[in-house]
């Protein structure tokens, strides 16, 4: 049993392949943190005249465009149809996860309004602890992992939670107004929704679905729910007028959504290859990157007290150490074989071919499907690019002090992660 793991869904998986996929998953988690955190940068350029619900809705529009065009560009939509034919039930889970994301995101708006970011952020960041719980309970993650890996994952997640609390405390200058209890409940509710949203993620990837296919349906649930919430809360007329009056800002918000999608795609691959118990805490390093943008590019915390800087440095170190602990606790061959048991269970329940499930777990192609892009793909790519170009044409660059040198440096770091992780992902799995 040293060299190979006996796969319950078929033939054995090479130990070398398993190690490569685990390392790839960790790399994807790190890249996800950078891009999810970077999504905050364009949003910082939008003033507070626009209501939070409308900001969230416009971002989701950007997300929707990106989620239909990026997969079309990378692999073509014919792969999505192929995935749906193999595992049609997963469409329901993808839409369900999208609905959950939209409700959780709206809850965070109420949480920030009532208790401020410093309290709200660490509370909803508990989603990674819940992700570990669901991963263990429902998908055999951390089974036969040994106490060292348990300590690494739980200790790392707790360290990241503490670091997030310190960072949020330092980066917030809002005093908590009244209705504190409602804000705490809203933040915890968001954390529970996001933590539970990883059940559909894991279910899809354990079964073999490609993350690029999953996000395509995820975003449909996300957009429909977010539109319903925005229309319900603001009213169709006022919402339309607000969108029209904010058209100079639409580009920045949708760009934020686009950047967020890149991060989310990496997060999906991390969840696929290292599971939700490791992938989600790793991508929660987004707070570090958000802070990096805030401090270096947008001059936040300038002139702050020594205590604030101590909180930032302490919080960053704790978060980074937590991420390192989790990255070093990747699944053993024995733990991975219990993931395969869970995959086999899913395959039997939904009548999915063993070869498809196994190919998905190994990041390999199952039955070489059509690889050429069709006119539908090009319509999606050109259409989405066209919307961004038009919005960029009417966009206004806000008057604010931005350190362009640091903006270029942090963007370059993000692009380096995108290219390097994207290349490894392509070479190892062909984006499977």
């Amino acid at each position: 049993m040293d060299a190979i793991t006996v796969a319950a869904v078929g033939s054995p998986m090479q130990a070398g392949r398993l190690r490569r996929l685990q390392a790839l998953g960790v790399f994807c988690g790190v890249a996800a943190g950078a891009w999810l955190g970077g999504a905050e940068a364009p949003i910082k350029m939008v003033n507070s005249d626009v209501s939070p619900i409308t900001i969230s809705l416009i971002m989701v529009f950007g997300v929707f465009l990106a989620r239909w065009s990026v997969p079309a560009l990378l692999r073509g939509t014919s792969h999505v149809r192929h995935d749906v034919r193999q595992a049609p039930h997963l469409v329901i889970w993808a839409v369900l996860a999208g609905c959950m994301w939209a409700v959780a995101n709206t809850l965070t708006i109420y949480a920030i309004r009532n208790v401020g970011l410093s309290i709200a952020f660490p509370l909803w960041n508990t989603n990674s602890l819940l992700g570990i719980f669901w991963g263990f309970l429902l998908f055999n993650e951390l089974h036969y992992a040994g106490w060292k890996r348990w300590v690494g994952v739980l200790g790392g997640a707790t360290g990241m939670f503490s670091g997030a609390a310190l960072l949020a405390l330092a980066s917030s200058n809002q005093a908590a107004p009244g209705k504190a209890m409602l804000g705490v409940v809203a933040a915890l509710g968001a954390g529970i929704l996001w933590g539970t949203m990883y059940i559909p993620y894991r279910k899809a990837y354990l079964t073999g679905m490609n993350p690029l296919s999953f996000v395509t349906f995820f975003t449909a649930g996300e957009l429909v729910t977010m539109t319903a919430l925005a229309v319900g809360y603001r009213g169709a007329g006022p919402l339309w007028r607000e969108l029209m009056s904010a058209r100079a800002l639409l580009f920045w918000l949708m760009l934020g959504g686009f950047v967020w999608v890149i991060g989310d795609l990496f997060q999906q691959y991390a969840a696929k290859y290292v599971g939700i118990s490791r992938g989600i805490p790793l991508s929660n390093t987004n707070q570090l990157w958000g802070l990096l943008w805030g401090i270096l590019v947008f001059h936040e915390l300038e002139g702050g007290s020594h205590r604030i800087y101590a909180e930032v440095i302490g919080g960053s170190i704790l978060t980074a150490l937590g991420a390192v602990a989790i990255a070093l606790s990747s699944a053993t061959e024995r733990e991975h074989s219990s993931w395969q048991d869970a995959a086999e269970r899913e395959g039997q329940r939904y009548g999915i071919e063993g070869g498809y499930v196994r190919a998905g777990m190994e990041g390999r192609e199952y039955e070489a499907g059509p690889s050429r892009r069709t006119w539908v793909d090009w319509v999606l790519i050109v259409g989405a690019s066209g919307v961004f170009v038009v919005l960029a044409g009417v966009a206004r660059v806000p008057r604010m002090e931005i350190h362009l040198g640091w903006a270029a440096a942090v963007t370059a770091a993000m692009l380096a992660l995108l290219v390097s992780c994207g290349t490894v992902l392509w070479r190892t799995t062909r984006f499977k």
């Binding site: 329901i92 889970w93 369900l96 409700v103 959780a104 809850l107 409940v185 509710g189 059940i199």
Partner: protein, 42 residues
């Protein structure tokens, strides 16, 4: 068997499998609770 009947025959076990899957009900119940919470917060 006509195409329509064939499709239904394939759909029924799928719906049954989803309806008896706890992985479906946990996220759905959490989503509904989230919507109720959102309604209360308004």
């Amino acid at each position: 068997m006509p195409k329509e009947q064939n499709g239904r025959a394939e759909l029924e076990p799928l719906i049954r499998a989803i309806a008896t899957d706890v992985h479906f009900w946990i996220p759905l119940l959490v989503l509904l609770a989230g919507l109720v919470l959102l309604h209360e917060l308004r």
